[in-house]
Each structure stands twice: as structure tokens, then as C-alpha cells.
Symmetry: C2
Subunit: 222 residues, 2 copies
Amino acid sequence: MSIRVTVATVIFTIRDRALHVLLVKRGVPPFQDEWAIPGGFTKENESLDESALRELREETGVKDVYLEQLYSFGDLRRDPRGRVVTVAYFALISQDRATLEPGTDAVEAQWYPMNDLPQLAFDHGDILSYALVRLRNKLEYTTVGFQLLPSRFTLPELQLVYEAILGRNLDKRNFRRKIESLGILRPLNAWSKESQRRPARLYNFAAAKFEKLKDKGILFPF
Amino acid sequence: MSIRVTVATVIFTIRDRALHVLLVKRGVPPFQDEWAIPGGFTKENESLDESALRELREETGVKDVYLEQLYSFGDLRRDPRGRVVTVAYFALISQDRATLEPGTDAVEAQWYPMNDLPQLAFDHGDILSYALVRLRNKLEYTTVGFQLLPSRFTLPELQLVYEAILGRNLDKRNFRRKIESLGILRPLNAWSKESQRRPARLYNFAAAKFEKLKDKGILFPF
DNA sequence: CCAAAAGTGTTAGGAGTACACCCATGG
DNA sequence: CCATGGGTGTACTCCTAACACTTTTGG
């Protein structure tokens, strides 16, 4: 009656103006040397969430992420070794926290752009597709987008996040008006010098303000 | 490394103008004689979805339902017998298909109104709360509401489903205009005689038409 | 002074919401 | 003819979407 249970975490970040996902190269069969979503077997004394975070840390060195359960995959033939149930998670991290640490199991962890993915092991292609759908949906009615940015960011950067995930361009004026109308950004007396042109104002995400808006429904109707 | 995996299915219906959920009385410890969400251990040779359907049939006689995976619960102390992961589902059925069959394990299955629930075993109260949130959300951007009605239904009946789930009254004129604008109903040359007053027109849910609208986002912004 | 990105306002159309009366039926 | 629930139209507001020019900076 017992079943082997694994977790797998689809972790996204924005790099080079594009959505990327973190993959690991498998060192053992089955699917040896193929790319897979980081994860592994759940231990006796840890919850599913804890497993997901531990595996992510061990295999890629990544920690301090936004984590959310995605879906559980339990078809009979998804693992050639036999019956395995995988609880999939999706996670978001900002570029500045997304560095892979050497000295972990992360010898073969690598960020891949979503539009140039390798063949994936198991049914991980399905899991990844599902994670992308979920991310796009959540972007429209939550503030998960901010998880992909450092604590201080500019409005053009925020817009880039939305455009990279949704895969289409947004009107700059409408985007700014919408975000500002939510009242969840605190403007700082600081300007980014990242672009070599006119500096853009920096903002904070004022999460506390947002809590009051939560149950009003859709927040980002792009 | 193996873990006991159960499924549990929160199944809703509309009865007496109110949202009801199907519960079963436990016959064995732990939580003997307390009420629980129907479910049980997954078998080796069935997928998670299949387990959910089988347990529902065995314990309550209910079949032919709309079924959707909800969330997996994996905290360490949620079952006094030890580590158990539960994959929760939520299901919808119309009143006319929702009769409990005798001769099954359903000796102690019973529909409870959501506003008058008994104490629940395990963390099933949490699971039920989560299912209700999900149902309310899905009602707004999908057509799951139709799953709670027989194949032929009137607009007042449909409105009742929405009101029972959302817990508030909706404007009759706006509701009808909205539903009709979606073009997913086929009016029939038949009228319901359920009410003892003026008969209401019967409609079909024209699912095919709906497929084209799916990716346009929110459909039921009540 | 030129190129490039930041930043700003207005308008038209569609959707949501609020609201009141007539119609068909059974008793 | 009356009580009950079925059925319809209109006006206002707000949100969305489309659209172009000015400002700031580095080179």
C-alpha cells in the first residue's frame, strides 16, 4: 500500500529579458545524462514542502525562494522503475538570488531559456508545461511577478517580467497606470543607473498594502 | 522511502437551494464514528484519479462525476497512524445523479449542508475549506457551475447554483444577460413545470461553443 | 546634438452595476 | 383576480485599450 513519493520543483527566473527554468542533468539511470526538473524522494521526517526546498538546495544550491505546490502526478507508467507519485512545485526567484552555488550537488544544474529547452526525462515536459500555464494565470490575479525581481526595481523592469512571462508586449502607459493604481509600490528617492540612458526610478514592493486588496479578485488584467 | 498515499474527494452538490457536501462516517479507528471526506488508500495498479473515483463509488455509490485534483496534503502529523500523504480531489455532481446507492460501503454516507457541518476527522476540515475556495474561484472563470445541474435546466436554476456557492444574491437581469452573452446555452422548445407558477424555459449547455471562448480569460465575473 | 529609454494624458468603447415594471400561470 | 416567480431595457460608471509626444541622459 506504500508508494514511492518524489517532489519536483519547476523554478523560474528572468535572465537576459527572458523566462528561464532551472534543470539538472541526471547522473544515474533511468534517463542518465538527460535533463530533469530538480527533485527527489521525500524523506520520512519532512513535509512535502520541506522536501521540495531541501532537494532544491542540495541539487542546485538555490534557496530563499517563493514556493507553491503545483499538482501531483500519479499515472502508473510515468517512471520506468515502477509506481512513483510526484508532487510538483513551482518556485520563483530573482536573478540576484539565483546564482548556483558550487560545492553542492549542483555540478550539472543549468538555467535554460523556456524557448530553447532540451529533451526532458520522465514526464517532466508535461510538468513544465503545466507550471508555465499556472505561472501565467497567477500573474494575472496575484503579485507573484514581484518574486522575480530584487527588492528594489524599476517599472520598466517590472513590465519586462510581465512581458517575458506572457510572451507579448504591453502598453507602457497602461501598465504603469494599472500598477500605480494598486498602491502597492513605494517610490524610493533613488534611480537605477542600469541603462546607459535616462535613469529609471526605483520602487519597493509594499506587500502590507496589498493584503487589503487580495479578495477583490483579479488584480492584473493584462 | 515509501509512503502511504491516500486520496480524498470533496464532492459537492446543490440540494434544497443550498450547497451540500458528501461525508462518510468512519467505521474504524482512528476517529471512529466521526465524519470524514470519502477516500482511502491508493492501490498499486491504479492512478490517483482512478483511486479517487473508485473510493467514491465504493464508499458512497456515487459515480459519473466531474473530478478535478485539488491539492496534496503532506504534513507530518496529520494522521495519528504515522506519515500519510493525501491527494485531495474536488468533485461536482447534479442532484439527479447524486443518489446514494444502497448495497455499497455507503451505509453511513450522508449529504451535509455546508453551513451545518459536523466535526471532521483528521485535517479534513482544512481540506474542505480549501475545496470551497477553489470551487468559488473556478465558478468565476470556468463553466463548472453547469456540472451541478441536470442536462436540461432553467436560468433561474442556474442562478441558484451561483448564489448558493457564492453565498450572495445576484441581479437576475445582469445574470441572464451575462450568461446569454456567452452563447453557450441552447434554448429548448420546452418549459419546466417545477415551479407552480409561470413555467421557465429549459436550456442545454452547449459545451462545444464554449471551447472557443476558453482562453479569453475570466468568463463569470460575479 | 543625436540616440535611446523614461515618463506622461486623453479618448472611445465595452463591461459591470443598479434599478422597476410587465407577463404567464395556478389556485 | 391575485399571488408568485419568469422575463425584459436603460442609464451611469468604471475599466480597458489604443495612441504620440516630451524629458533626461550618455556619448
